[in-house]
């Protein structure tokens, strides 16, 4: 075990000590005893001293052991550890701009989308209520990433994490794509992963903004109306995406019913992305009137997303009236784009007594 060991008389005392040290997200944690952490390291199938990357703004080195500590504290099962490792590896990609993202005043949080066999191995939910409450794999994995960002990356509210309001999404935001009910190939395939391969995609986003749509299956205009509605939410006039140059990615999570409406009208992922990018625009004069000091970039109308490929389109949630858009922050040296990582399930080993 590396690093300083905290000593406490019992579990409750340890719990209070962790809260007092600012090591929690404000909720109770599982106390990361040496034995529990060692067991989680074992679940990763990797050596504890393997370094996944550096986490800003404190520039802490994310070793497997430290990440295992975060996973234990978050309440993860050993089966979740490979996805936690992949998510940490992803946010350590310099393109993710973790240092800047952790420090911003914006309410951005890392969204983790799980694809392929990792969904089944870890029990990740992609249907009803996938963002919570009630889905252990989703919530504990997202929470483990947050605890790693706090305790390895040293992001602390009001000191090094300057989010003005924070966000419930900063506690945990992780779910599986509903590949079985999607008419489109898995999101991860757009980043080069084979269908069925275990992978995570991570994007810094705001929490979900709902899009209400009730279409008639026989209505020939249904797909166009749905696209217009989603585009309007992407280009909402209070959002960073409308003002800050349009270089960031956004996430669009279609429920299976809405996805089917689009597929019935011969929309595949690329056509949807192009249609949304073309429609998610705002007259320059309107943005200049509302928020001129913040307006960046060229063109009129102003696109909220300049590159259609930066609209991360996936299918998840239950069938029904609502899909969601997750706008983004649009800042940082790389402009707030998505990163991805393979989930190494073949490294994981069976734990004695894990049943």
């Amino acid at each position: 075990m590396s690093g300083a060991m905290l000593e406490a008389a019992d579990e409750m005392a340890a719990q209070e000590a962790l809260h007092a040290l600012g090591c929690t997200d404000g909720l109770p944690v599982i106390v990361p005893t040496a034995g529990r952490v060692a067991r989680m390291v074992l679940a990763s199938g990797l050596d504890g001293d393997i370094e996944l990357g550096t986490m800003g703004p404190g520039h802490g080195v994310a070793t497997i052991e430290k990440v295992a500590c975060a996973a234990v504290m978050a309440g993860c099962l050993p089966d979740h550890m490979p996805v936690v490792v992949a998510a940490v590896r992803a946010v350590c990609d310099p393109v993710f701009d973790l240092t800047e993202m952790q420090a911003t005043t914006h309410c951005i949080a890392p969204l983790v989308v799980v694809n392929g066999s990792a969904r089944l191995a870890g029990g990740y939910a992609g249907g009803f209520g996938l963002m919570g409450p009630g889905h252990r794999a989703n919530l504990c994995t997202g929470r483990a990433l947050r605890l790693a960002m706090m305790n390895i990356g040293s992001a602390r509210p009001g000191e090094s994490d300057m989010a003005i309001h924070g966000s419930p999404a900063k506690l945990s935001l992780c779910f599986a794509e509903d590949e079985e009910n999607s008419p489109f190939p898995p999101l991860s395939t757009t980043f080069g992963h084979a269908p069925g391969a275990a992978a995570v995609t991570v994007l810094g986003v705001e929490g979900p903004h709902s899009v209400l749509f009730s279409g008639d299956a026989g209505d020939p205009a249904a797909a166009e109306a749905l696209l217009d509605l989603i585009a309007a939410v992407i280009a909402n006039r209070g959002s960073n995406n409308s003002y800050l140059g349009g270089h960031a990615a956004v996430a669009v999570v279609l429920n299976p019913e809405h996805a089917a409406v689009l597929a019935r009208h011969d929309y595949d992922r690329a056509r949807i992305q192009q249609a949304l990018a073309a429609r998610a625009v705002t007259p320059r004069g309107e943005l200049a009137r509302l928020n001129g000091k913040m307006l960046q970039g060229e063109g009129d109308p102003v696109p909220a997303v300049r590159d259609p490929a930066n609209i991360l389109l996936l299918v998840a949630g239950a069938p029904g009236l609502y899909s969601v858009v997750m706008p983004s922050w649009c800042a940082g040296p790389h402009g707030n784009v998505a990163v991805h990582a393979a989930v190494e399930l073949d490294q994981a080993c069976e734990l004695p007594g894990a049943g």
Binding site: G56, P57, G58, H59, A103, S154, E159, S160, M162, K293
Partner: protein, 73 residues
């Protein structure tokens, strides 16, 4: 703060402006980046959006301190 540290590392006379509300973050970043001694001038919060006249008043208020810090650096 990061910009200030980057400039200071190039050997350029530098002062980082930090508003009072962001002072803890400024100090954290300075420590994390390995330059806790980077010269700083603490400004009232907020600075953004206070208007040209108030900004000019603020500039006059801090000018001497900025010059002093630049000379010290």
């Amino acid at each position: 703060m990061r910009d200030g540290i980057a400039l200071a590392r190039q050997g350029r006379p530098t002062v980082a402006f930090v508003t009072a509300k962001f002072r803890p973050q400024g100090e954290f970043v300075a420590r994390a980046e390995g330059m806790p001694e980077v010269p700083q001038v603490i400004l009232p919060h907020p600075v953004a959006g206070i208007g040209a006249a108030a900004m000019a008043d603020l500039a006059r208020t801090i000018a001497a301190e900025v010059v002093l810090r630049l000379r010290e650096g």
